[in-house]
């Protein structure tokens, strides 16, 4: 088998092992680019300038708070803590052909709570939103089997934050409450507030994370029909939001 023979064999093998993407992928990818790309390409000079400004500000702030001023010679104590910058939404979720761990249900238009999941305690590794043809998707990904969850609808987009009791109003007219028991998200560093502008899912925001109970509120443009399912590879809870018929 020379190079040509090997090339043909490998072409055939890789052709067997892969397949073209479905026709909707280009649309989904470009939706993600438009939604997650923020202000578009970042030019290196702009990044360098921003980095320089931030560095100067941090160093200046440090010197102001640490160096003795006015001849007192006494340290002024720790400076104010830097406030975290808001994390932009990065919608990425796409319909996955990965076999689901549970039979994929139909969309349900009801105020009844939908629930499921197991009893293990796992970590949240990713949260994503995505816009698909005819529905919007919200996904929470875990590093183990999907833990116990409840998903219910409500007739407003107002939610109460866990622990603080503070009221938060999300974009939209109605809402969906997602509660996960047995999940820690301390290691999750992604966005906790996705302002999507999608037709159904207007905003997704974490409304609580305390003692292994994680809450997310979903603001919807109106009453939503839900399809709640779990998928594996990786393990994730998938909530599809359809408009009411």
């Amino acid at each position: 088998m020379g190079d040509d023979g090997m090339r043909q064999d490998l072409k055939r093998a890789f052709g067997d092992l892969t397949e073209p993407p479905d026709s909707g992928m280009r649309h989904r990818v470009m939706n993600a680019v438009r939604a997650g790309g923020e202000s578009g390409p970042r030019h290196q000079w702009a990044v360098a300038l921003a980095t320089a400004v931030i560095t100067v500000a941090l160093v200046g702030g440090f010197l102001l708070t640490r160096l003795p001023l006015g001849g007192s010679g006494a340290p002024t104590g720790p400076g104010p803590a830097a406030s975290p910058s808001p994390t932009p939404a990065t919608p990425t979720e796409t319909p996955s052909p990965t076999p689901s761990a549970t039979p994929v249900p139909q969309a349900v238009c009801t105020s009844d709570t939908q629930s499921g999941g197991g009893t293990a305690t796992v970590n949240v590794t990713a949260v994503r939103v995505g816009q698909q043809s005819g529905y919007d998707r919200f996904v929470i990904e875990f590093d183990g089997p999907v833990p116990s969850y409840q998903v219910s609808t409500q007739s407003s987009a107002t939610f109460t934050e866990d622990a603080s009791g503070r009221t938060v109003v999300l974009d939209g007219k109605d809402g969906v409450v997602v509660t996960i028991h047995g999940a820690n998200d301390q290691g999750y560093s992604g966005s906790t507030d996705f302002k999507t502008g999608y037709p159904q899912l207007r905003e997704a925001r974490r409304t609580g994370s305390f003692e292994a109970v994680v809450h997310w509120g979903l603001g919807t443009s109106g009453p939503a029909c839900l399809k709640v399912s779990t998928l594996t590879g990786p393990d994730r809870l998938v909530i599809d939001l359809y408009p009411t018929p």
Binding site: M1, R12, D16, R26, V29, P41, R42, T94, P99
Partner: protein, 181 residues
């Protein structure tokens, strides 16, 4: 310069200036091979699409820093996809390779069946970066310079990688059988 090449350079300039439609024109022909590349590295179609999607968003954000000509965009984008796949593999438990999710040859001839199955199984047993090297060189027919760009190594390094991976499939392969690209 051909008309299509001039158009591609114009799309690149417009995309770098923030035109998503121009970016889409550049990206569209790359999505199929990028998706297959991600499938080869991850063995899972859903994860592959996620990786391509993430890579596309990153490519869009980084486009301002891209200094090459339009034909070099392919290798640049594939390198982002490959990095995304490596990150995915680090994030998850991938010790059981998941090609079970992938389609198999539908109608191999009787003569081809045995050998074809063998080579697919052999590919699946290779490390992900070796599969990537073979896919780029043998399936996409990329010259070694571009394989090197995707792998993030020198051209000689890419040649060594392709040769080493190919030898794992065919131990009697001589170095002269891997052309210089």
């Amino acid at each position: 310069m051909e008309v299509s090449a001039i158009a591609a350079e114009q799309d690149l300039r417009q995309a770098a200036a923030g035109d998503t439609s121009a970016f889409e024109l550049l990206l569209a022909p790359l999505l199929d091979p990028a998706y297959r590349l991600a499938t080869v590295m991850l063995g899972d179609r859903g994860a592959a699409e996620d990786a391509v999607q993430e890579a596309s968003v990153k490519a869009w954000r980084k486009l301002g820093g891209f200094r090459g000509a339009a034909p070099e965009l392919q290798a640049w984008f594939f390198s982002i996809v490959a990095n995304e796949c490596r990150m995915t593999r680090r994030r998850r438990w991938w010790s059981v390779f998941k090609f079970a999710d992938l389609p198999r040859s539908e109608t191999p001839t009787a003569d081809e069946r045995f050998e074809s199955l063998d080579i697919r199984q052999a590919i699946q047993r290779l490390p992900a970066d070796d599969r990537l090297a073979l896919y780029l060189f043998f399936y996409l027919d990329l010259p070694l310079e571009r394989v090197a760009r995707v792998l993030g190594v020198s051209t000689n390094g890419a040649r060594s990688r392709v040769y080493r991976a190919a030898r794992r499939l065919r131990p009697d392969l001589g170095p002269e059988e891997i052309p210089n690209g």
